[in-house]
């Protein structure tokens, strides 16, 4: 047992060497980070003298993966948002109404007049005037149902229809709700990503959490408010026909219309048709521009089909006003002066340059399909993070030295072996963290310090066992061998239980706690590896060379 085969030696030390090579970039963190940024830029097709110089900072053949620093160490903003999927359900039903109305209107002889009744947002209620036409109306509306577009398939249709006398009630089917929620979340993720990318911060994390939540982490941002400003706007742009203008906030807009406040003029309300002519989804581009008076504005261009719809509408409605509506507020309501065929135009309002730029960004990135609710917000300043890193480093070094000294005092030469293994162990933890791309957080640093304390445990178990075996006087070689053999089951049992708690932490925890779980998990793995293999091969090599008659542990 004490004599390893050469192949085993090589494997053990190769693993150690690999781990240390992967850990190495972290020792020169800033340098490697600069190198990584530079190579990323060069790949993206940019280059200049300073980028090229940065790219020379680190040899290409060496690994350049770094441990990610968590927000609590690097500073930045952390936001947890919930996507209000119910909004999408409501707007789908809203969009269904004109279709239902038109379909029923075609059979007016049988179903009579069709009116919409007030209802909660989760359903659409339609009243027909002819009771005899109820069955026919039911059939017509049922006929509007579409199969659900989802992966799970099945024969489900997207709407459920019930009829009670002359009242038709249309709701979304469960299958459609699931599919719709899924689409909404994916779309929201994509739009959040685009909006944050537009601002150009580095390495943002945008992650889905659970069924309807998204975690956004942006390093290096001074305040979460910046991100909230960016994400807090739905940027739902629509062009609606204007029905009227009023100063009465309580005015009844009439069926099919809505009352919207004006953005700039206090106390002014517009009654507009609920159904827009074109929407921001049809935009091809939007950018900062200036109107003829030199005030900031946003220039936009529609795609071809929307350009045609918009062109036709302007041709038919010359002299009538239409409203440019952003998130349920009327930005402006110009009168159509002439036919606008090209599908492009500008939006003017009382914008500052900054507001106009922001609006253009939001319009380009696309509207969020649903509003976001902010559930959690954390901003950590970069100085606090740097302080934490510095404190953690000092603590690590002091703890390390104390333990190294203590081990040598307790176990002499064997303590030295355990210490070498301990140093390798710390290197391996960093190597693993870099390879996996795990995130190091402040509790994670605590995890490393704790691991330093606990890492010697496996060695302690073995050494104590060797001591005991020596007492029964079997000769040093046999004692060492027995020590390892008998200690193994304790080491494995003890570490598996701790490992299980680390896994649970990783699964159940969030953010900083997960960082802790990573280091704890890797710490357990590497400490068992170093105790069973590294220390042992060190002892074996020493033993083979000196062949001592007696040993003291």
């Amino acid at each position: 047992m004490l004599n390893f085969s050469l192949a085993k030696y090589l494997t053990i030390w190769l693993i150690v060497a690999l781990g240390l090579v992967f850990a190495m970039p972290n020792a020169l963190y800033n340098r490697v980070e600069a190198y990584n940024d530079a190579t990323a830029l060069i790949e993206a097709g940019q280059s200049n003298a300073s980028i090229a110089a940065d790219a020379e900072l680190w040899p290409d053949f060496l690994p350049s993966n770094l441990v990610n620093l968590g927000l609590d160490l690097r500073g930045g903003a952390h936001l947890l948002v919930e996507v209000q999927v119910e909004d999408v359900h409501a707007s789908f039903l809203e969009g269904l109404w004109p279709t239902v109305r038109d379909a029923l209107a075609e059979e007016r002889d049988i179903v009579g007049f069709v009116t919409r009744e007030d209802s909660p947002a989760t359903e659409l209620r339609v009243r027909i005037s002819e009771e005899e036409g109820a069955t026919r109306a039911f059939q017509i509306v049922r006929g509007l149902a579409q199969p659900v577009a989802s992966f799970t398939g099945g024969a489900a249709t997207n709407i459920d229809v019930t009829i009670d006398g002359t009242l038709l009630t249309i709701t979304l089917s469960d299958a459609e709700m699931v599919a719709m929620d899924e689409r909404t979340i994916m779309q929201t993720l994509e739009i959040i990503r685009r909006r944050i990318d537009e601002v150009g911060t580095r390495e943002p994390t945008i992650q889905r959490q659970g069924s309807d939540r998204i975690l956004v982490q942006v390093p290096g941002v001074g305040s979460a408010n910046e991100i909230i400003d960016l994400l807090g706007t739905t940027a739902q742009l629509t062009f609606n026909p204007v029905v009227g203008r009023t100063a009465d906030a309580e005015a009844s807009p009439g069926t099919g219309n809505i009352l919207l406040p004006s953005l700039d003029e206090a106390g002014v309300y517009y009654i507009v048709e609920r159904r827009p002519v074109v929407t921001g989804e049809d935009l091809e581009n939007a950018q900062l521009d200036f109107d003829q008076n030199g005030r900031p504005a946003v220039a936009f261009r529609f795609n071809t089909s929307a350009a045609r719809t918009f062109g036709d509408y302007t041709l038919e409605n010359i002299g009538n006003p239409f409203a440019i509506v952003l998130d349920d507020e009327v930005i402006s309501a110009p009168t159509i002066q002439s036919h606008i065929p090209g599908g492009s135009g500008i939006i003017t309002g009382n914008f500052t340059v900054e507001e106009a730029t922001n609006l253009a960004v939001l319009l380009r990135a696309g509207a969020l399909p649903a509003e976001l609710e902010f559930l959690e917000e954390r901003t950590i300043g970069p100085e606090l993070g740097a302080d934490s890193i510095a404190a953690g480093q000092i603590a690590c070094i002091v703890a390390g030295i104390a333990i190294l000294v203590y081990m040598v005092l307790s176990y002499g030469l064997f303590g030295v072996f355990a210490n070498i293994a301990l140093l390798i162990n710390i290197g391996l933890i960093f190597g693993l963290l870099s390879i996996v791309g795990a995130t190091l957080t402040l509790p994670g640093i605590a995890g490393i310090v704790l691991t330093i304390g606990m890492a010697v445990d496996a060695n302690v178990i073995v050494f104590e066992r060797i001591r005991e075996e020596l007492r029964t006087a079997k000769g040093p070689a046999r004692a060492i061998e027995l020590g390892y053999e008998k200690a193994l089951s304790s080491i494995i049992d003890a570490n598996i239980t701790t490992f299980m708690t680390a896994v649970i932490l990783l699964v159940m925890g969030s953010g900083p706690v997960q960082g802790f779980a990573w280091t704890l998990m890797f710490g357990i793995m590497t400490s068992v590896f170093t105790a069973i293999f590294v220390t042992r091969s060190l002892i074996a090599m020493w033993f083979a060379r000196t062949r001592p008659k007696t040993i003291e542990v």
Binding site: E377, A391, A399, P443, M454, D457, L520
Partner: protein
């Protein structure tokens, strides 16, 4: 000469006063639970919702002035605590301002946070805010839930593992010792009203892991000795096993504590609560694996001889027969 924490051939009788130790543990647990039930934990915003702002100023913290500045905002319960740390610069004065979750407001209003910062700047215009954290009541409720689930899952997983690897008596002993550790840790947090947040849950789970680690090493030796000394009394075997592993138990506690204490002193105030929980846990965990887990094992008894039927099971069936 080697440094030894204990003599090589210890033969301390750990069970002569087993009743006293168990009694102390039970009383301590009752006190801990009573404290938890009566005054409750000082939950951080993770678990209660609300906003916590760290302020950093070159002027000494004047709690009264901060409070006066924030009063007009009408934010309800505000707590202001000065933070002191040996690592701070000489003219660095830090405080934690905590505002409760606003009624019926899930969304964290950025305006509120800005208003608070504005108000505090009226005390010291140079003041900076190194960290701002805000958690809505919905999330905090879920965080409590998942924390409880995490701790329970860990305990159940350990129970299962020990049961599979040893006997059920070992599993019960280990888990009761764990509950002892967790209860006493929660107790000290409630008694001294130390802030209890997500990181403390991580600490709790680590304590669970550490304590089980210790217990398993002792149990492993018990199992080995039970096979080795078939004729010895269970009490003697337990005593022998604890004595044999005592050196390792203490050694590991000392190295772990060396690491934790240096982190406690030098690691900064942000993680001090977390590290405190772990130091306490290591001490309690070591105590419980030596005194509590084994004592429970002694009370429950262990099935020794696999060749014959369990004698106690036999008598039970005997009773039914008559």
């Amino acid at each position: 000469m080697r440094l030894r924490l204990i003599r090589e051939d210890t033969s301390i009788d750990f069970f002569s006063r087993a009743r006293i130790w168990l009694g102390i543990s039970v009383i301590a647990m009752v006190i801990a639970l009573a404290s938890f039930l009566i005054q409750g934990l000082n939950y951080g915003i993770d678990f209660q919702g609300g906003t916590s702002i760290r302020t950093d100023s070159t002027q000494p913290v004047d709690v009264a002035a901060y409070r006066t500045a924030l009063e007009p905002l009408g934010l309800g319960d505000i707590s202001i605590a000065e933070v002191d740390d040996p690592l701070f610069d000489e003219d660095q004065f830090v405080a934690l301002v905590r505002v409760q979750a606003q009624d019926g407001d899930e969304r964290i209003a950025s305006e509120t946070i800005e208003a608070i910062q504005e108000a505090l700047r009226s005390v010291d215009p140079e003041m900076t805010f190194p960290s701002v954290e805000s958690v809505g009541p919905k999330v905090s409720g879920e965080l409590i839930q998942s924390a409880i689930i995490a701790v329970s899952m860990a305990v159940v997983a350990i129970l299962l593992y020990i049961w599979l690897r040893f006997e059920w008596q070992f599993a019960v002993g280990a888990v009761l010792a764990l509950c002892h550790d967790v209860i006493l840790t929660i107790g000290i947090f409630s008694e001294f009203q130390i802030k209890f947040d997500l990181a403390i849950i991580a600490a709790l789970l680590t304590i669970v892991g550490y304590s089980i680690n210790d217990t398993v090493v002792v149990f492993d030796r018990v199992r080995e000795n039970l096979r080795k000394y078939k004729k010895k009394d269970l009490k003697e075997v337990l005593n022998l096993s604890i004595n044999e592993t005592l050196s390792r138990t203490l050694m590991t506690s000392v190295t772990t504590l060396l690491a934790l204490v240096s982190l406690f002193v030098l690691g900064g105030d942000v993680i001090r609560g977390f590290v405190f929980a772990m130091i306490w846990g290591v001490v309690i965990g070591t105590y419980s694996s030596v005194f509590v887990a084994t004592a429970i094992l002694l009370v429950l008894g262990v099935k020794r001889d696999w060749s014959k039927k369990d004698p106690s099971a036999g008598t039970r069936y005997g009773h039914i027969d008559t």
